[in-house]
Symmetry: C2
Subunit: 230 residues, 2 copies
Amino acid sequence: MKKELVRLLSLWASPYGLRVQLALKAKGIEYQYIAEDNKNKSELLLSSNPVYKKVPVLIHNETPICESLIIIEYIDETWPAPPPLLPSHPYDRYLVRFWSNFIDQKLIEVMGPVFSGITAENKSVVWKKGQDEFAQMAITIERGAAEMELRGLIYVEGKTCLGYMDLCFAPYVALFGAVEELFGLKLPGSEKCPKLQKWIQNLLTNEEVKLTLPDVDKIVKHIKEAFGAE
Amino acid sequence: MKKELVRLLSLWASPYGLRVQLALKAKGIEYQYIAEDNKNKSELLLSSNPVYKKVPVLIHNETPICESLIIIEYIDETWPAPPPLLPSHPYDRYLVRFWSNFIDQKLIEVMGPVFSGITAENKSVVWKKGQDEFAQMAITIERGAAEMELRGLIYVEGKTCLGYMDLCFAPYVALFGAVEELFGLKLPGSEKCPKLQKWIQNLLTNEEVKLTLPDVDKIVKHIKEAFGAE
């Protein structure tokens, strides 16, 4: 087998980049990590992802692959040796694709105004609205977590490996800690969201997740700087 | 083999619903079409897609499957008999996923303000901006069409069957006709976008596409009514 060259352009705080790191680690693929700087994007990033100009980009030999969820499918199909990242049954594959898309879209929709409101006069109003939408989102994810737990699609301590849904979701766990500290945005507790809370607790016991997720304090500092808050 | 019950909840004008119809036809799957009414959503739609409450929904036996691009992957994996909808090579699969996602996201981003501006005082300003972004989008898609044509991923007259990328894109062709008539939004011609224009012309020779796409005049009338224009 010829030696593969795998490079990952990413940012330490990017949940999208972190999920690709987790996927590469889950598959045991050696890769070179190239740290990007959002304020000064490299020529390699701009030429590898001319459409979006964003991390993460996986460069497999000389071929760039963009968009984190699509990258993970590419990784699973290019290196099919176990462990599989996606499940094999079409309905299970549907479920993890549906919920990872939902979570990505919804979080941008809910968090965009909250982040942008960080310097606004009426930020408490923005944050209150964000809190309601954030809680509503969690209650929706709870339904997905319940079905996926039943079908063995999300990580439970003692299982051998993280799957697609875990890779997609785990990086948000650190972000949730940061938005709670910054904006008071808090996920509903175990009474309202027992499956979601259990899933999060399970993910936090996983060694690879613990090693990969950045520190909440560091994310808080980063968000404040990026959005110009004092 | 037990008899399958396949139902599709859709709207005649929905490009997302039309691509699922094209996928089912390409696979030769018998299905029951259930026409929804956006102003009076059925109980079946609301209970089948409680997260988004939107068409299309494929109901396979009793199991609802939502989100058009994910539905097409589900169809291809559930009925793997030829013709395949997605290509087999991981990089080809990446390309069609990347470009179908790009086109869906970008069209919403560009067309949203244009449609909403239909009753605005300054609609000519909105439409001018829309025209520039629409042309820019087409030039980006041209790059994708060139690479996908080289790799045999898009329909060329004489090929036997439509593939994933064609199913995703073909329904927009009728929409492009309508937005040209309504807003003067015009795709760049063959000098700037030769591969894209050739792809569109090829799609319009396909019998299944011709049979499935709604009439441009009917779409124009529908958009005017939906957005309250006179």
